[in-house]
């Protein structure tokens, strides 16, 4: 950390503030490698594609958890709604071109996010957890009830996805599908990155750290949270749309609790609040799942569970070390359940 003395020219301050947002060599290397996988692992497209979708989905949760401190178990609501929207759009042909359909499914999910944000932002962590969970359970059951539209338990059949941009077909090997997912992930990542380094993103960090003070310096706390929750829902929706488009199928399990819970696991592995946590976590999670499933096809979840327990108990500062938000949220939740007050983040000598 540089310590400066004497007068500071405005240029210095400006340069420093802007330098926060500069792409580091490590980040550039990360993305070069990500795109290089297209040529490096041609036999692994399916799992890579799944990892890319999971990464985007996890990124959506990181935006609210890592940057606004909102703990959610209901991201699957947006994922699922957009997944069905993309499927129905292709099946009935009201939006044929996949990219446009994808953007639209993101918007539909964002609309749901906006509406439900008012419920979610009311309470504390536990309330939010339950409200978000409840919303996705309800949507799942609605999809089940209207099986004539959604296909119910059998899933949505007969989804035929048109070529991307009218040119690139979804091939059997999954090459184009993977490239498509990777490009969408990258575009969404760049947008998310831009958001968090903007004044808006800075205000979110302030709200997460100290909502009382944030309001006391004139930040409209509630509306900022509504905004990021809506954006996050849109991202989750795009991930859901991608899954439907690349598999030409959509079933009720897009709304499952497991899907939302997986996201928390991904962020526990990768860490929150530095954007790459969801990406790295998703890759590790998928590879781990694949590897263990090959070893013991029947009991793979046992090993996943064991690994998670080990990570949470042993790993304090992992990749990037940015899991503080999650730990704080979990400890607040724990404190609430046991009725003890959470540790004060701002302990300072009292003036009284």
């Amino acid at each position: 950390m540089t310590v400066k003395h004497g007068p500071v020219p405005a240029d210095d301050v400006s340069a420093y503030l802007k330098s926060r947002a500069r792409w580091s060599p490590l980040e550039i290397a990360f993305w070069i490698f990500a795109f290089a996988t297209i040529w490096l692992f041609p036999g692994k497209y399916l799992i890579l594609k799944d990892a890319a979708i999971l990464a985007l989905f996890a990124l959506s949760l990181d935006l609210i958890l890592g940057y606004a401190g909102i703990l959610s178990l209901g991201q699957a609501a947006f994922f699922g709604l957009a997944g069905y929207f993309a499927g129905l759009a292709a099946k009935y042909g009201f939006i044929n071109e996949p990219v446009i359909a994808l953007v639209c499914s993101g918007i539909v999910a964002a609309a749901l996010g906006f509406v439900t944000s008012f419920l979610v932002l009311r309470g504390s962590d536990l309330t939010r957890l339950m409200v978000t969970l409840g919303v996705s359970l309800m949507l799942g059951e609605v999809a089940n009830r209207y099986s004539d539209i959604t296909g119910g338990a059998d899933g949505l059949q007969g989804v035929d996805i048109a070529p991307i941009l009218g040119r690139f077909n979804f091939d059997l090997y999954g090459h184009n599908g993977y490239v498509y997912c990777l490009v969408v992930l990258f575009v969404c990542f760049v947008i998310a990155r831009r958001i968090i380094y903007s004044p808006f993103g800075l205000s979110l960090r302030a709200i997460k750290e100290n909502g009382l003070r944030a309001a006391a310096i004139g930040i409209p706390v509630k509306w900022r949270l509504v905004a990021i929750y809506t954006i996050s829902a849109g991202f989750a929706g795009i991930a859901g749309g991608l899954l439907t488009q690349t598999t030409a199928f959509c079933s009720l399990d897009v709304f499952s609790l497991e899907r939302s819970a997986d996201l928390l696991l991904v962020l526990i592995i990768g860490g929150t609040g530095y954007l790459y946590g969801g990406l790295i976590g998703a890759v590790i999670y998928k590879l781990l799942q694949d590897w263990i499933a090959n070893l013991t096809p029947q009991y793979w979840q046992f090993w996943i569970g064991l690994v998670l327990v080990a990570i949470v108990l042993v790993g304090r500062d992992r990749i990037g070390g940015g899991n503080a938000a999650l730990r704080a949220a979990v400890s607040r939740l724990g404190a609430r359940m046991t009725g003890r007050p959470a540790a004060l983040g701002n302990a300072a000598p009292d003036g009284n």
Binding site: M1, T2, V3, K4, H5, G6, P7, V8, P9, A10, D11, V13, S14, A15, Y16, L17, K18, R20, A21, R194, I195, Y197, S198, P199, F200, G201, L202, S203, R205, A206, E209, N210, L212, R213, A215, A216, I217, G218, I219, P220, V221, R224, A227, G345, N346, A348, P349, D350, G351, N352
Partner: protein
Amino acid sequence: MPILETIGLEKRFGGIVAAHNVNLTVEKGARHALIGPNGAGKTTVINMLTGVLKPTTGRIMLEGRDITAVVPHQRVRLGMARTFQINQLFLDLTPLESIGLVVSERLGLGGDWWRLVGTKSAVTEEIVEIVKRFRLTDVMHVRTAILPYGKQRLLEIALAFACRPHLLLLDEPAAGVPEVERHELLATIEALPAEVTVLLIEHDMDLVFSFADRISVLVNGTLFVDGAPEDVARDPRVKAVYLGEDLDA
């Protein structure tokens, strides 16, 4: 027209009356101190002024405008900012980022989600001015969590000042500051621009009498005495109720 006026302000928590018929008037440009023994209701009054608590009855006028029903963040935009008795800072941000955030918000850029922080020269120039005024230049790149307590206290005031308030509420600014850092803090408070009206809530009598040009004494939720420092110091009732007990504490 006074900058701040409360009319019959009252706050009851169930059967407990925390503030009773408080009629406080703060003149424009004043250095006004609100003092009172522990539990006198000072914090209750501050919380009602800033909108954290809703008064049971009564009205609050800021520059002639009734702000009783205005939400806290809007009061900031209308020209009233506060500091906290216990630091309320953004521990993970640097002073530069924290002040940058406040200035961006005030200039209406807070909802801007596409431009990067620090690309507007109006913002950066103001940040520099505030960083200097509050003697934070040396530590502006240091995470707030590891700043010395005195610097945190300065930042606490800097954040409120960066809202460019017409009325600045300082809630025990010197509380807990060690002797070595105290001088810097007091000098900074003294040097606040004259056009900013200051309402100081303080326990420290040295600070109150060296700084304030008007003093209101709150006892048991009621305004007890209100006047120039000399008059308040001479008032036998104040001596009995307040100064006698608390000065030697």
